[in-house]
């Protein structure tokens, strides 16, 4: 008689950009980018957001550009 194996139910994460078919991630789209910068204004890692590698790369670039133009913050104090 084995120990009952715990079954975890985890929602499957889907890349937002694949799902919404956003192919070009614009650094000017502050509303979109803000979804990927939590409280501390860090870039949300893929392991949390579920973004695929193909989209995380341009997303990262877009966030950094927006930061340079002071559209989104580097940090929150």
């Amino acid at each position: 008689m084995g120990r009952p194996r715990k079954v975890f139910f985890r929602r499957r994460k889907v890349c937002k950009f694949c799902a919404d078919k956003i192919d070009y991630i614009d650094y000017k789209d502050v509303k979109l980018l803000q979804q990927f910068i939590p409280e501390r204004s860090k870039i949300l890692p893929r392991r949390i957001s579920g973004t695929c590698a193909t989209h995380q790369r341009p997303l990262q670039q877009a966030i950094k550009r927006a930061r340079h133009l002071a559209l989104i913050p580097f940090t929150t104090d």
Binding site: V7, F9, R12, K21, D23, Y24, Y27, R67, H68, A70
Partner: protein
């Protein structure tokens, strides 16, 4: 053909008229270098996400530029902006390559993306089943 985007942030203490003349000057430099200004947007006064030179606001100007390839005057324009202390920030981005890649992906995706979504929906059902067993 190459496309560029140029955004710059001007000190908010500079009057709107002066921003226009400044923009005009840069536009002239760009056209003189053989490029064409396709779009011009004035985003006006915006709050900065963090203070720059102890200022909390800035006036944003956006220019969309196309050039036939080859030499442009954008390096000179950037140089001018760097020397002008009324310009808080500027950013020049070449966009044609990324836009082209995006367009190609859009063309390639329709069939594949739908199939994938059906797959993930099926997986989701399965997940629900296992939960009920618990």
């Amino acid at each position: 053909m190459r496309t560029y985007e140029l955004v710059f942030v001007v000190d908010p203490r500079v009057s709107d008229e002066d921003v226009v003349t400044l923009t005009q000057e840069y536009k002239q430099m760009i056209s003189a270098g053989g490029s064409e200004i396709v779009t011009e947007e004035n985003w006006g006064r915006r709050k900065l996400a963090y203070p720059i030179n102890k200022l909390s606001e800035g006036k944003y100007v956006f220019l969309g530029i196309t050039s036939g390839g080859g030499k442009t005057s954008l390096p000179e324009v950037e140089h001018r902006m760097r020397q002008n202390d009324k310009i808080l920030r500027y950013l020049t981005v070449r966009t044609d390559e990324d836009l082209k890649r995006a367009a190609r992906r859009k063309q390639a995706s329709p069939a594949g993306a739908d199939a994938e979504r059906a797959d993930s929906a099926a997986d989701h059902d399965h997940d629900l089943d296992t939960e009920e067993e618990v």
